[in-house]
């Protein structure tokens, strides 16, 4: 997928100006944390589960050489063909080769952020294949020619009216009302059912890979991934190295965290484990199965200080709790992964220079770290990326100069207190009558959007000293 993160600020401004879409995002930001919180409370000792899974994930990454070799061995013994893709383009070409070997014409795809990352759909289409996204959200955005706005609900930015217009335009089914969301789902169901039954190849992702047995875990509510995995004659699982876990029980422990954090359910409707092709005695299932393991910089992340990012389980909780994501919307981030996890991952999987705005798209409120089921210190990683940007002289010279000046003053407490006390005192005198400023020199970034409140007169340190003196 083409990187557009250079335009984050411009896109965020446009997103904020769309009042209807902003109201929809606000509604989601109110709703999703509530359902997650209820599910976490109902679970019992969620923190103990979180720490258990964190230990397992860290252990898996620390010993990834062992577990990767084990997974490959078991998956191969199960009858799969295991492929390694160093880059996005290599994954695409492996998948196209498999499709061409089978003279395939139609591909049914389950939701896969990895294949969004590699731009697989466009590549397969250029190779002459018809590719149908079957997750309802992914299907909607595919029909609309858009990209996902959220890693769990890719089309949550669209209203039901917009989906209705889209279906009326794209499905040649004559006159119909399609008034309710139920009607829209029903129509997608009947259109997609034929695609499932006709597809030559099914492509799905994996929420976990189990080293001990070579199974892959797939978690869905719609069941579309399972239809892709069971009906077509060839199955291709596209996933990444960092999904590997030691045992089956580790995968279900991750699943406990994942579904509660993502949708607030105790278990998704379908949690399936696939080991390979159809057995001799079976009536159905794919005749041939492939697992494509994508690296695309992940082994570099494994060797870096950002290793903890590989513990991410793609639940979307950090997006749902992020004020910047709510304000700017997923598309502003300009790539596959939005929100806090995306602001860390996108620079690491692309370049720090082209994604300079993302690590700065953070208020340091810390909610993402609080709710992250993998306990990833997202604000710390974002800060480290900002630090790295500064070290590598990325960003406008004016911005960097300002930061350097601030750092120089802040490192001298006496000077800092002297300057802030004087400035606050002057601003207090100037703004006392009105109580706020409409414009301030050097602060247009603030005052262009909202008034700057007039300071109360005394700095924190002055008040602190005065109270301490009173007490003495």
């Amino acid at each position: 997928m083409e990187l557009q993160s250079q335009h984050f600020t411009r896109k965020a401004v446009a997103a904020l100006a769309d009042e209807a879409a902003a109201a929809q995002r606000d509604a989601m930001a109110l709703f999703t944390p509530v359902v997650r919180e209820a599910a976490v409370q109902q679970f019992g000792d969620f923190e103990a589960l979180r720490q258990h899974v964190k230990r397992i994930r860290r252990h898996s990454l620390d010993n990834l050489d062992y577990y990767l070799a084990r997974f490959e061995l078991e998956a191969t013994n199960n009858g799969n063909q295991v492929h390694y893709a160093d880059s996005a383009s290599e994954l695409n070409s492996i998948v196209l080769d498999i499709c061409q070997q089978h003279d395939a014409r139609k591909v049914a795809k389950g939701k896969s952020m990895v294949t969004e990352e590699t731009g697989l759909n466009d590549y397969l289409k250029r190779g002459g294949l018809e590719v149908i996204e079957t997750d309802l959200g992914e299907y909607i955005i595919q029909q609309a020619g858009e990209t996902p706005s959220h890693i769990v609900g890719p089309a949550l930015h669209k209203s039901k009216e917009q989906v209705r217009e889209l279906f009326l335009e794209k499905h040649a089914l004559g006159e119909r009302e399609l008034e309710s969301i139920s009607d829209l789902v029903g129509e997608a169901r009947s259109v997609l059912r034929d695609h499932f039954l006709q597809a030559d190849i099914g492509i799905i992702g994996a929420n976990a890979l189990i080293a001990e047995t070579g199974y892959s875990m797939l978690v869905t509510n719609e069941g579309n991934g399972d239809l892709c995995a069971n009906l077509p004659r060839v199955l291709i699982i596209c996933t990444t190295l960092d999904r590997i876990l030691p045992r089956g029980e580790d995968a279900t422990a991750v699943q406990r965290l994942l579904v509660r954090s993502a949708t607030g359910q105790p278990q998704t409707c379908y949690t399936s484990f696939y080991s390979g092709p159809r057995r001799e005695t079976e009536l159905d299932g794919p005749l041939e199965t492939h697992i494509v393991l994508l690296d695309n910089q992940r082994s570099d992340i494994l060797a870096s200080d950002y290793r903890e990012m590989l513990q991410c389980i793609r639940c979307g909780a950090c997006l749902n709790h992020c004020p910047i994501f709510t304000a700017s919307g997923g598309h502003s981030y300009g790539w596959v992964y939005p929100g806090p996890m995306g602001s860390v991952l996108t620079p690491l999987l692309n370049s720090l220079e082209d994604t300079a705005a993302l690590p700065n798209a953070c208020t340091s409120c810390g909610r993402c770290a609080e709710v992250c089921p993998a306990d990833i210190p997202l604000p710390d990683l974002l800060r480290d990326l900002r630090h790295q940007q500064s070290q590598e002289n990325i960003g406008s010279p004016r911005w960097r100069m300002g930061l350097r000046l601030h750092a120089w003053v802040a490192a001298r407490p006496g000077l800092y207190q002297f300057l802030t006390t004087r400035v606050m005192s002057i601003l207090n005198k100037l703004g006392r009558r009105k109580g706020s400023f409409h414009k301030l020199p050097f602060a247009s970034g603030w005052t262009d959007q909202r008034d700057f409140p007039s300071p109360q007169g005394e700095s924190f340190m002055q008040q602190y000293k005065a109270r301490r003196d009173d007490r003495e």
Partner: protein, 239 residues
Amino acid sequence: MSSESRSRIMARVRHASLGQNAAAIEAQLDDFGVAPAAELPHDDTCVAFMINVLRNQGSIDVAPQRVDVVKAVGQYIYRHYRSHRLVAGNDPHLAAMPWRDGGVLPRFGEIEPGEPVALSYAQWGVAETGATIFLSGRNNPARNNLLPEHHLVVLDVNQLLPDLESLWQQLEPAITGAERPRALFCIAGPSSTADIEAQLVCGAHGPRAWHVILTGEVRQEQLDTALDVLSSKKNPGGS
């Protein structure tokens, strides 16, 4: 080339890993112990399972005897389709049911497109999640779980497990054997989606309804208790 990529990736991963031997890795893994499971909503495992099935948008019939099962199936199909037909997997438990007593005409095998009802025999149920568990195989075609409008599941309450860890223990003989089952399905609800405006709709691609028929040593009072627990949670201040 994939094999060159494999070598490069493996080399980088090896470089970034701790380089411990297998015995040390396995010992460390054992030290982590068992993951905590979700608290059950009731002390009785069967009632807890029922509560979770209902929370998962499923419905339940209690049918202690085999004749009760076929009657429950017959009434269900008649209620929804005014029909006596359904497709059932080749599971011997289903084949041995006295279908005529319920007025049901099952066809054993794979579901064909357009057939509305399928019946499956679940190998286990998990109380923690309210899931019914199936292993793929000749007795249980995967498409029977995925293509019908209504998915009916028979589960013997003796096969109820408290949590997912118990499930993996039960699975151990199958998954450590020479040929592992192709697929393990944990089904916990009808196919659903909330992809449009976060509104939940059942019947996204697979079954619109998921109906669990519990058989064996199970009583109607247990289902009544499950329903009471759910209604008291919905109306905590209600009389």
